[in-house]
């Protein structure tokens, strides 16, 4: 299956090759679809392809590294 996720990089992780490291450890195919990076924060829309377990493992790996992983719709909750 394929899924797009929104990654928010905190300042201290912007210079790390996080996505490369993730792909070394979890067997998913990734495709960077959109990215915006400044010196303070980074945002990447990443498309992942693999089995459901592999996708979950990739998301978990990113979260454990300190990346905020969001659904592509941003917030669905409203006031």
């Amino acid at each position: 299956m394929k899924q797009a996720i929104d990654l928010i990089f905190p300042k201290n992780l912007i210079q790390d090759p996080i996505i490369y490291q993730m792909s070394k450890e979890v067997p998913v195919v990734f495709n960077i679809r959109r990215a915006k990076v400044t010196e303070k924060v980074g945002e990447i829309v990443l498309e992942l392809e693999g089995s459901e377990n592999e996708l979950n493992a990739a998301k978990k790996w990113l979260e454990n590294r300190g990346i905020k992983v969001e659904p592509i719709t941003h917030d669905t909750l409203e006031g």
């Binding site: 829309v45 659904p71 941003h74 917030d75 669905t76 909750l77 409203e78």
Partner: protein, 428 residues
């Protein structure tokens, strides 16, 4: 004649058919409705609008539906007046209040939901859903009931009872989700992906959001077909702010108002201010935050339209400002005491920020300013209950009242009660 031409990506410009979809397949950018403005300009006029009933469907040509059979509870065309006391108090000669707290379910969400559910029916849905922390839940439940939809409302399981009642009375299926804010969000995004329902603030979002334009239309019409100099708008997802500007821009483009120079300013609670922070830091990226404020109806940590809200504020030379929880409560009390309007925390935020912008000189005293009040205070009574007048309890005897009255006169509380005349409250 079809007036909706397509859905268009706000990022890459790719167009797609106007179905239930909210992100661009190509670049994942948000989608927006494209209209046939040529046709609209050939049929719309001030006279035509003015001759119609006093609800938001008087602007039918500019709303994203094709049919005349609309799902309406007479939302919109809410009261708008030149401030009676607040302007004097703040030193603003031309302050106007737009009171959207008196819509059918007591918030501006009735506008977006009326449009969203009308469009959902046109697209063939019989199930509607939303994820909400209050106002949207009530609006979707009410319009869902009247429109005979099956209605699902997703809320955080620990939502205050008052808000659950405000939706529950219309008898939707309410799903309380045990989990933190991020988990609730994630689940709702997954549900919206898998179940083919009209999720008003997810796959119906391009249509839903257009309902907010009507606040811009109405203010321009109610001002006598002209644009104000400055408006202050509470910001949650950022959609309302961008759509108020879009509404005024469309009126200008169609020649319904002569010119457009309105500065659009954003108001957020300090405990959840990702948009205002980006404006203050001149940043293009909205840093998500974990909300921590009493202003729950505008506490969106990762706002979907935050980027566009920042762009609109910058483009129009507006400003972004936040208010602390204490200032928000003071804003609620101030609006109640000066204009007789009991607003919820979002309205308190607007008033608190309006006051700050005047004090810091960012709004000039002779500007025509509009403050948007978007929700009703009876929904969030708990936020002010410890900060307002309490009854003096006495026995049912005249001499008890006399004693009380004398003590109040002695302590000058009776005169001070009229706070507009109290020097302590005057702004220097």
């Amino acid at each position: 004649m079809k007036k909706i031409k397509a859905l268009k990506c706000k990022e890459c410009g790719q167009e797609s058919p106007p179905i239930a979809k909210h992100v661009c397949e190509f670049c994942f950018g948000p989608l927006e409705v494209v209209y046939d403005y040529e046709w609209i300009s050939s049929v719309i006029s001030k006279e035509k609008i003015a001759s119609r009933p006093h609800n938001l469907w008087r602007y039918w040509e500019l709303l994203p539906v094709e049919g005349q059979q609309v799902l309406s509870l007479n939302e919109g065309f809410t009261p708008f007046w030149k401030s009676r006391n607040l302007g004097k108090f703040l030193g603003l000669k031309n302050l106007y209040i737009k009171n959207d707290a008196v819509n059918p379910t007591f918030s501006f969400k009735d506008r977006v939901v009326s449009v969203a559910l009308t469009r959902s029916r046109e697209l063939g849905f019989d199930v509607v859903a939303c994820a909400s922390t209050g106002n949207l839940a009530g609006a979707v439940a009410a319009y869902g009931a009247v429109g005979c939809f099956k209605t699902f409302v997703f809320i955080p399981a620990d939502l205050e009872m008052g808000k659950v009642v405000g939706a529950g009375v219309y008898d939707p299926i309410i799903v309380g989700i045990k989990g933190n804010y991020d988990e609730v969000n994630r689940l709702c995004a997954e549900v919206a992906d898998i179940f083919h329902w009209a999720f008003v603030n997810v796959n119906i979002r391009p249509y839903y959001a257009e309902g907010s334009k009507t606040l811009g239309f109405e203010v321009a019409e109610q001002l006598g077909w002209r644009a104000p100099d400055h408006v202050v708008v509470p910001v949650a997802s950022g959609s309302l702010l961008t759509k108020i500007y879009k509404g005024m821009s469309e009126f200008h483009q169609l020649g319904l108002i002569p010119e457009l120079h309105t500065k659009i300013s954003a108001a957020q609670a300090q405990g959840c201010a990702p948009v205002v922070t980006a404006i203050k830091e001149h940043s293009e990226i909205i840093k998500p935050v974990i909300p921590k404020t009493i202003a729950k109806s505008i506490a969106i940590g990762n706002p979907a339209d935050g980027y566009y809200a920042v762009k609109t504020v910058e483009k129009t030379h507006g400003v972004g400002e936040w208010a602390t929880d204490e200032e928000i409560i003071e804003g609620i009390r101030l609006l109640a005491k000066t204009e007789g309007v009991f607003t919820e925390t979002a309205g308190g935020t607007t008033i608190a920020v309006l006051k700050k912008l005047k004090e810091s000189g960012k709004i000039a005293s002779d500007e025509t300013v509009v403050a948007f009040i978007t929700g009703n205070g009876f929904k969030t009574q708990e936020s002010v209950q410890d900060h307002i007048s309490k009854p003096y309890i006495i026995e049912p005897r005249l001499n008890e009242f006399r004693e009380l009255y004398e003590s109040l006169v002695k302590s000058k509380q009776v005169e001070e009660h009229n706070f507009l005349k109290n020097p302590a409250y005057q702004i220097k």
